[in-house]
């Protein structure tokens, strides 16, 4: 029996590289998302980490807000 309600508390089952490794990807990832492009497969482990780590998720949201604000200024 599998209970996916546990994923919220145990994390998902994908490979999770942790906070420090995720730092290498956060800037490139935010620019890809801000451009509205598909996120390449090589970000799969990073995305697993974002799903499991609230602090990294919040930091990514913060950087994404910065990138979007910059793109908005440039497009005006």
């Amino acid at each position: 029996m599998t209970d996916h309600r546990l994923d919220a508390i145990l994390g998902t089952t994908g490979r999770d590289p942790g906070c420090d490794a995720g730092l290498d990807f956060i800037d490139e990832y935010c620019e890809i998302v801000a451009r509205g492009e598909a996120v390449p497969d090589r970000f799969a482990d990073f995305l697993t980490h974002l799903g499991n780590c609230r602090a990294c998720r919040e930091d990514t949201e913060g950087l994404l807000a910065v990138v979007r604000a910059q793109e908005n200024r440039e497009s005006r």
């Binding site: 209970d3 490979r15 730092l23």
Partner: protein
């Protein structure tokens, strides 16, 4: 790793920051100004977690975060490879510095301790994550696995982060370690619990 072809603005930042004269000083001043603005923007974005009385402290905290981020950027300048714009790469350092400080500030008057009553609270005071499990048998199996398979430090980290919603960098500061190290403890604890709950028929095994 090779450096990718840089956009003009990023190349200009790198050239100026590597200059040995006035261009470097000017670039450092501009970069610090950008980092302070970004840190303040992050504080505004997180204002719901801050008390209005703390505005001056938060602004000091943003300036400190920008200064520490600037030091980190200058020390790591040779590691910039151009996979994102220079300003995006630089801003990640200040976002990390500012958000960690803001989380710690928001938690500065709150205790972090192992609280086993968290498992036995009535629904209106129970951790949201347990409420969502909606199954006393499953919660009982999880509680049993936590008690029998985790070390005391793993229990502290697991219960604090997943149930009491203590930010990992707040916990890291209290335990005198790093956020990455706390996350590793959490990751190992979760893996142990998943194994135990798999054996008990509740969960699927993780891949790593």
């Amino acid at each position: 790793m090779d450096t990718l072809a840089l956009d003009t603005e990023s190349a200009d930042w790198l050239r100026d920051l590597r200059d040995s004269g006035g261009a470097r000083d000017n670039a450092i001043e501009r970069l610090h100004g950008l980092l302070v603005r970004v840190a303040r923007g992050e504080a505004v974005r997180r204002r719901a977690t801050m008390s209005a009385r703390a505005a001056d402290e938060v602004d000091d905290l943003c300036v400190q975060a920008a200064s520490d981020a600037l030091m980190a950027i200058l020390a790591k300048l040779d590691t910039y490879r151009g996979s994102a714009r220079f300003t995006t790469w630089a801003c990640k350092f200040v976002i990390l510095e500012a958000s960690a400080r803001l989380r710690r500030h928001a938690w500065r008057e709150r205790k972090v301790e192992l609280d086993d009553t968290i498992w036995d609270r009535l629904p209106d005071r129970a951790p949201l994550i347990l409420e969502r499990l909606e199954d006393d048998q499953l919660i009982g199996a999880l509680h049993h696995a936590v008690d029998t398979h985790l070390t005391e430090r793993q229990r502290l980290v697991f219960q604090s982060v997943t149930m009491a919603e203590v930010p990992t960098d707040v916990l890291a500061e209290r335990l005198g370690t790093t956020r990455g190290a706390v996350y590793k403890i959490l990751h190992d604890a979760r893996a142990k619990l998943r194994r135990a709950l798999t054996d008990a028929g509740y969960a699927e095994q993780r891949n790593d």
